[in-house]
């Protein structure tokens, strides 16, 4: 009989087994989803006559529709393991381009198309800089953000463009079955992004790249192309958000929707706490978006002033993420 080989190593085969959980269990055990539920309950208890009414729920959805789209773009980039600081600037430029073209007489469809192409090109530029020139995502998208905002100022000539064709405005202000169109568009885009991430080889390659670049590369994933595509898609989707925002407000300014950047990152981070793997995911991002929307709306209804709202929003995000990380440490 030979000597025992690794006397020192713990026999961990019993300890390792992680029990399978049902989807419901998974969601509920997450601090973030719990936070959302608690928030909804809280606001409902404070104003039961108003908070969960059809009008108010519709308002919340309306208010976060654009953010949901931008956050979807951010999700893709974060799945791949990077992040994109230029999403809001791209959306503003896209809105400005569409508005400017329509004001000069271009047909609406063409103007929108041009705006989307602009977004796509910006995303492409980001992707090339990051995947091929190997700049860090932070530096590259920060630079893009600055230049794109400058472009937006140029396109709008420093003012707010308005007087957009009513058919265009209708995209952002029209309703179907009493629900504003942007809500449907946001749902549609989110569904498409979710599908791509979950079911297509492209989406799986994105996850693989974000999970471990080396192993992915060795298994035949073209990591560079994956990252390039992620940023390009993000630029395109951000442009959709920007066009929709312009339609919603009936106007386009260079800095419109600025706060969508930080909120989109916050939403994706909140979403990452929901899944076991800690990877960015679309459903989680939407939960994050919901938290942000519910909070803003609820605090407005309670008449809490804007400065306090900002403080509270930050605190709730910290709380949700901390709760989730505590649970992870228990495992």
């Amino acid at each position: 009989m030979t000597t025992s080989r690794n006397l020192g190593v713990e026999d961990a085969t019993d300890v390792r087994a992680v029990p399978r959980r049902s989807v419901g269990q998974k969601l509920l055990s997450s601090g973030t989803v719990l936070a959302l539920v608690v928030l909804i309950l809280f606001f409902f208890l404070m104003r039961p006559d108003v908070f969960l009414s059809f009008t108010n729920v519709k308002n919340i959805l309306y208010q976060v529709a654009i953010l949901a789209i931008i956050a979807g773009a951010q999700t893709i980039v974060m799945v791949v393991g990077d992040f994109d600081l230029s999403v809001a600037a791209t959306s503003a430029l896209a809105g400005a381009v569409a508005a400017s073209l329509m004001i000069s007489g271009w047909p609406i469809a063409l103007a929108i198309f041009a705006a989307l192409i602009v977004g796509l090109l910006i995303g492409l530029a980001n992707g090339l800089l990051i995947a091929y020139v190997n700049l860090s995502a932070f530096v590259a998208t920060l630079a893009t953000l600055t230049s794109v905002t400058g472009l937006a100022f140029m396109v709008t000539e420093g003012t707010t463009l308005f007087n957009l064709p009513p058919e265009f405005n209708n995209l952002g202000q029209g309703k179907f079955l009493e629900i504003p169109l942007p809500v449907f568009i946001a749902i549609g885009i989110s569904a498409i992004l979710w599908f791509v991430l979950r079911f297509t080889t492209l989406g799986r390659r994105w996850y693989a790249t974000g999970g471990n670049v080396e192993v992915s590369r060795l298994s035949g994933v073209n990591v560079r192309r994956a990252r390039l595509l992620a940023f390009t898609v993000a630029g395109f989707v951000s442009a959709i958000g920007g066009v929709l925002l312009a339609a919603r407000l009936g106007s386009a300014s260079a800095v419109q929707g600025e706060d969508n950047l930080l909120f989109s990152v916050a939403a994706v981070f909140l979403g990452m706490t929901i899944v076991r793997s800690g990877a960015a995911n679309l459903v989680g991002t939407m939960v994050g978006v919901a938290i942000i929307g519910v909070m803003s709306n609820g605090l407005n209804i309670l008449g809490v002033n804007a400065y306090v709202q900002q403080v509270v929003t930050g605190l709730i995000i910290i709380a949700a993420v901390t709760l989730s990380s505590l649970k992870t440490r228990e495992r």
């Binding site: 108003v50 420093g158 003012t159 308005f162 202000q173 407000l249 300014s253 407005n300 209804i301 804007a306």
Partner: protein, 331 residues
């Protein structure tokens, strides 16, 4: 000929300094037509060049300088005091006869004021504070109380009296003028027997997102208090447009007033929807008046009698909307 070279050299030196410090600034040169050996040296700065009025002011001052043969150094601040103040101070270090301040609150330019005082250069300002201060030779601004009186008057007339009405006041603290007039409006409303919706002035956190913030604020308020909003007094047009949109979308009947008379709000007034009135601030006339003081000083060193002047404004309603030149279309 030599003077022209000297002027160019001075401009080149100043421009190099400025290029190091800020973007978007143009070193304007004056044509020394007119016989005097040393052209009148003027430093002009504004932090608000990204707003339509600020952009207009830059162009207008440059045009004046060109016409009068001034040696002008124009510094555009982009709301970035960290960048602008040192640039202006460097220019002061190069020497000047007069400094022009456009739309930059005295509270943010303490270091510039000291530098100017030390160099013995007078500052002629417009819309740079709401109270007399010896930082300026003269500051010509609009009469905030007058603005409040006329807008509240319009609301009073439209609503059939302010007593017992529920009015929301929306302000933005970082802007001195808006802060002052919002406070005055709140006080006067309460004195007239109206209630402030939400119990206090509603603050917008960022001018870039002012329109969407006001939109969400009013929409949520209406959901929480259906039919409970008689009017909204807003400190500036962009946010007022957001408030008006919220009211229209909710199908409510409140009236909204703004300040600035941008083309979009004039169009809204003419459309006779929720947007009731705005205020035209006579910037071109104020600039002319300021220039008179500067020319008097240039002539024989006469300083203005008072260091503060508040000029009256014009209320813009459906009656006179068609005759008003919008502030974002000033030539």
């Amino acid at each position: 000929m030599r003077t022209k070279f000297k002027a160019l050299a001075a401009v080149a030196a100043a421009a190099t300094l400025l290029l190091a410090g800020c973007s978007g600034s143009s070193g304007g040169g004056g044509d020394a037509s007119g016989g005097s050996d040393e052209p009148f040296k003027v430093i002009a700065f504004t932090s608000g060049n990204q707003t339509p009025v600020g952009a207009w002011w830059v162009k207008a001052v440059e045009a004046q300088a060109e016409e009068l043969g001034w040696d002008l150094t124009m510094i555009q601040g982009d709301f970035d005091f960290q960048k602008m103040n040192p640039a202006v101070e460097s220019a002061i270090g190069q020497g000047a006869d007069v400094i022009l301040d456009g739309y930059t609150d005295v509270a943010s330019i303490g270091s510039i004021v000291s530098a100017a005082k030390d160099a013995g250069i007078p500052i002629f300002a417009m819309d740079s504070g709401t109270e007399p201060t010896d930082a300026f030779a003269i500051n010509i601004t609009t009469d905030q109380q007058g603005i409040v009186d006329s807008t509240l008057g319009a609301l009073d007339e439209s609503l059939g009296g302010l007593d017992g009405k529920n009015i929301m006041v929306i302000g933005h603290d970082p802007h001195a003028g808006i802060r002052l007039r919002a406070g005055l409006a709140a006080d006067d409303l309460e004195a007239a027997g109206a209630t402030l919706a939400g119990g206090e002035i509603q603050k917008v956190a960022s001018p870039a997102t002012g329109r969407t913030e006001a939109l969400a604020l009013v929409a949520d308020y209406l959901t929480a208090n259906p039919g409970g909003l008689d009017g909204v007094w807003v400190g500036w047009d962009d946010a007022a447009l957001g408030a008006a949109q919220a009211i229209t979308e909710a199908g409510a009947t409140g009236k909204v007033t703004g300040v600035d008379a941008v083309s979009e709000s004039i169009a809204a007034i003419e459309a006779q929807g929720a947007f009731l009135a705005t205020v035209e601030q006579p910037w071109p006339a104020i600039l002319d008046s300021l220039m008179e003081h500067v020319l008097a000083y240039q002539e024989d060193g006469t300083m203005p009698d008072e260091n503060f002047e508040a000029v009256s404004t014009t209320l813009v309603t459906i009656d006179n909307a068609a005759d008003i030149t919008p502030s974002d279309k000033l030539e």
